[in-house]
């Protein structure tokens, strides 16, 4: 599982930073802050990130992250500062949104401060979902020399109309209706990173795609990748949609039932995992199942997971 590995990585990074911070300290500095700068999506270390420590609008320390993402910055506490003061660490790196992280310092007890930070790629931080359930519709890679403005937004809108209408058949209550949020800046280098985008953005599903020229002059073949935040899909659920007119305001209205089913299954997985609401999850799965000819294995797996948590399982005949 990923959790022990993460703990191990964190522990080793923490050890490195502590050793580093407890080393030789420049004479003028009163304290130090250190940690690891990573990419919020991929969790890979970010090299060369600029770190500045600010207090009352003044820079009191600066540094840069090393190849393993680890940084350390020594800073001076201004004379006459209050007993407990709040400083801000600012992190900047090309291709990433500037991130500020406040921290507390006590002059009398200026031990090393550990602060790991994960930076969102530029533009992606704005896509952090505030709703649940949520589906983020990311970038659709266009063919060379083509650009499709607002495609993420149009596809998000089309998905919302299509799926929320279908969800009406099981009378899903308003607060459990999924929101479909466009985020063109969310551009995974490879489709498999979609799951990391879903997790990092707090969404249940992440939808992205690739566009290839089709047969007609205005037609395109659109491959849609659906990833989820709960590892329901080992690789993104992929469906190819032919003869799509991307100039239409409802681009993607002809997206296949397979794509719709995968998005709904991700939402169901979120209901089951985040909200611990397997009953509603099963309702959503019922809708998903009507959209495909054969029930996909991921739906069966999710059903089995829910069955084990379902109080109705106690109504089954007791095994002798």
């Amino acid at each position: 599982m990923a959790a022990p590995r993460l703990i191990c990585q964190f522990a080793s990074a923490f050890a490195i930073v502590c050793c580093w911070l407890s080393g030789v300290t420049p004479g003028a500095a009163d304290s130090a802050i250190g940690g690891k700068v990573t990419d919020r999506i991929t969790q890979q270390p970010i090299v060369g990130a600029d770190v500045q420590i600010e207090y009352s609008g003044q820079i009191v320390g600066a540094g840069t992250s090393e190849p393993n993402g680890v940084y350390r910055v020594f800073f001076a506490i201004p004379p006459g500062a209050p007993a407990n003061l709040t400083m801000t660490a600012s992190f900047r790196s090309e291709g990433y949104a500037v991130t500020k992280s406040p921290f507390q310092v006590s002059p009398g007890n200026a031990g090393p401060i550990v602060r790991d930070i994960a930076l969102f790629p530029t533009g992606v931080a704005n896509c952090l979902s505030q709703r649940s359930p949520a589906v983020i519709v990311g970038h659709f890679l266009p063919p060379l020399g083509r650009d499709f403005a607002d495609l993420s937004a149009r596809i998000a809108r089309t998905l919302e109309y299509a799926l929320n209408t279908r969800l009406q058949t099981v009378r899903l209550i308003l607060k459990l209706q999924p929101s479909f949020e466009p985020c063109d800046a969310a551009n995974p280098r490879i489709p498999v990173l979609g799951a990391k985008f879903a997790k990092a953005l707090g969404a249940d599903a992440f939808v992205s795609g690739e566009i290839a020229p089709g047969d007609g002059s205005s037609d395109f073949t659109v491959s849609v990748f659906v990833s989820d935040a709960y590892d329901l899909f080992s690789t993104p659920a992929t469906a190819s949609n032919r003869s799509i007119d991307l100039s239409s305001p409802s681009a993607g209205a002809s997206i296949t039932g397979e794509t719709h089913a995968a998005v709904l299954a991700s939402i169901a997985a979120g209901l089951a995992n985040k909200k611990n609401d397997c009953r509603t999850a099963m309702d959503v799965l019922l809708v998903a199942e009507q959209l495909v000819e054969v029930t996909p294995a991921y739906i069966t797996r999710l059903r089995e997971t829910c069955n084990s948590r379902n109080p109705n399982a106690g109504l089954r005949r007791a095994t002798p």
Partner: protein, 503 residues
């Protein structure tokens, strides 16, 4: 207060078939059958002018049977004792009277209403109609401007081709404009109006622009709280089995009926058809002079428009407050428009099924969910008298006994709906079987192994669809009979929990 639209004129066109009673005096002075022959001929003539719908066909069948009896009586009246002739004549007269009443019920009237702009519509439209259906303008996020024409065409098809009597259609037009703060406003409004007006069925839908035209998604819904509707059946257990009641309810009760892709030619066909159907003509011909319109303001003020005539099954004559005009849906609605009308035909079939009319095949233009709903209604209708038929129909969906392998792998629409129906139908079939041996129903006890098998299968269905409260309540009844207190208690607890969440 129900306001279907926000900030715009709220208009609705209400259409109805109103019941009319034809009081007929049946006095006679001598044993003569001329009057009955005349009455029957008159009914026959009027029925011939009805569109060739199920109502007309049923009336024709009854007329034919009465004609035969009348002919026989006429042939025997000189050889039969007078009192026997009188008795038979009285019986025939009474049946002819009943026929006249049925025909009276089939007379149609159109009523246009305009919802008060400020107050909303509080009173119930056509409260005395047995069957009340609403059609809502379709949700139109991409501004195709087809929402009203489509609901208008569907409402007309519903009205003109109904298979039942005492039938009302209310067509909600305009006012379904989207509220930018919520994409769900449309559904909420449809739901609110349907519940408030207690419609037995509602048709609504959504329009979206697709690559080459428009996709028309048509939905049908049955009010979820329709406890005493024709969509619910109960089976009571004998006292010896605990006397509990098993409930089976139509599920799915909100379905996608049709997803129809219409190209630009089809779109203009739909618009033209709606305009043509709205025109009232001087005679039943497409090129006859137009004498009025059904969709202009003069018809929205609450006047009653009666259907007073029919010709060749596809032209309808309307009386619009003294002025008469003709219109037709079948004449003008062709091609893609005709495919759309399958939605209305299906809804008419659903209404007819609830009136014990036989099921008709579901159009291939409709969805699998429509087929499932139709078969489930047929099974519900068979439940009380022919539970084995209900079992057969339910098994097809619940157990995937379809010969079609693809269908076998698919989950039945409506979750545990078919499984519940199957369980209740099996219990009913067992009760009827044992009842044949033990006439005292209250003393009947169905074999525990049979009930246990039914309960265990239903429990599996409940795990797959844990939100179905009917299923868990039925399980509580069955476990009660089996003496399984643990599972009965759990079922009751789950049911109570589901009900409290629903509130």
């Amino acid at each position: 207060m129900i306001r279907f639209g926000a900030g715009c004129r709220r208009m609705l066109l209400a259409l109805a078939l109103l019941s009319a009673t034809a009081g007929v005096a049946l006095a006679f002075q001598e044993v003569s059958l001329d009057r009955e022959f005349r009455q029957l001929r008159d009914i026959q003539r009027r029925v011939e002018n009805l569109p060739a719908y199920q109502v007309a066909e049923e009336l024709k069948r009854q007329i034919s049977a009465l004609q035969e009896r009348l002919d026989m009586l006429a042939g025997q009246r000189f050889s039969m004792p007078l009192n026997m002739i009188e008795r038979e004549r009285e019986s025939l007269a009474s049946e002819i009277y009943a026929l006249q009443r049925q025909l009276g019920d089939a007379q149609k009237a159109i009523v246009n209403f305009r919802e008060a702009i400020s107050g909303g519509q509080r009173e119930r439209f056509f409260p005395n109609a047995r069957h009340r259906v609403a059609t809502f303008t379709f949700d139109d996020p991409h501004a195709t401007e087809l929402g009203d024409p489509i609901s208008f065409l569907l409402s007309k098809k519903l009205l003109f081709s109904t298979r039942v009597t005492s039938f009302a259609v209310v067509n909600y037009r305009q006012g379904a404009d989207r509220d930018p703060s919520s994409n769900l406003a449309y559904f909420d409004r449809v739901d609110a109006v349907t519940k408030d007006q207690k419609f037995s069925l509602a048709i609504w839908g959504r329009l979206s622009r697709i690559e080459r035209g428009v996709r028309i998604d048509s939905f049908l819904q049955v009010p979820g709280d329709a406890d005493k509707s024709p969509y619910v059946r109960t089976v009571r257990l004998p006292v010896a089995m605990g006397g509990g009641t098993l409930t089976v309810r139509l599920k799915p009760d909100r379905i996608l009926l049709q997803s129809l892709d219409v190209d630009p030619d089809g779109i203009s066909l739909l618009r033209t058809a709606a305009k043509q159907v709205a025109m009232l003509r001087a005679s039943p011909a497409a090129d006859a002079p137009v004498i009025g319109r059904l969709d202009d303001d003069s018809y929205r003020s609450g006047t009653i428009h009666s259907i007073v005539g029919f010709q060749r099954s596809d032209w309808i004559q309307l009386d619009t407050g003294g002025r008469r005009g003709w219109t037709s849906i079948d004449q003008f609605c062709t091609g893609a428009c005709r495919a759309l009308l399958d939605v209305a035909s299906f809804v008419n079939d659903v209404v007819a099924l609830t009136s014990r009319s036989p099921a008709r095949p579901v159009s291939k233009n409709l969805t699998r969910e429509a087929e499932a709903m139709s078969e489930q209604l047929a099974a519900l209708s068979s439940l009380s008298n022919n539970p084995n038929r209900a079992v057969e129909l339910a098994e097809h969906w619940a157990l995937g006994s379809s010969p079609d392998v693809t269908a076998r792998n698919r989950t039945a629409p409506g979750g545990a709906g078919f499984a519940n129906l199957l369980a209740v139908a099996r219990v009913k079939a067992e009760l009827m079987r044992v009842n044949a041996l033990e006439p005292n129903f209250e003393r009947i006890r169905v074999g525990r192994r049979a009930i246990e098998r039914i309960a265990n299968e239903l429990a599996e269905a409940s795990v797959a669809d844990p939100s179905d409260v009917d299923v868990v309540e039925n399980l509580a009844v069955l476990f009660g009979y089996l003496g399984d207190d643990r599972r009965r208690g759990l079922a009751l607890e789950i049911a109570a929990n589901l009900k409290s969440k629903a509130r």
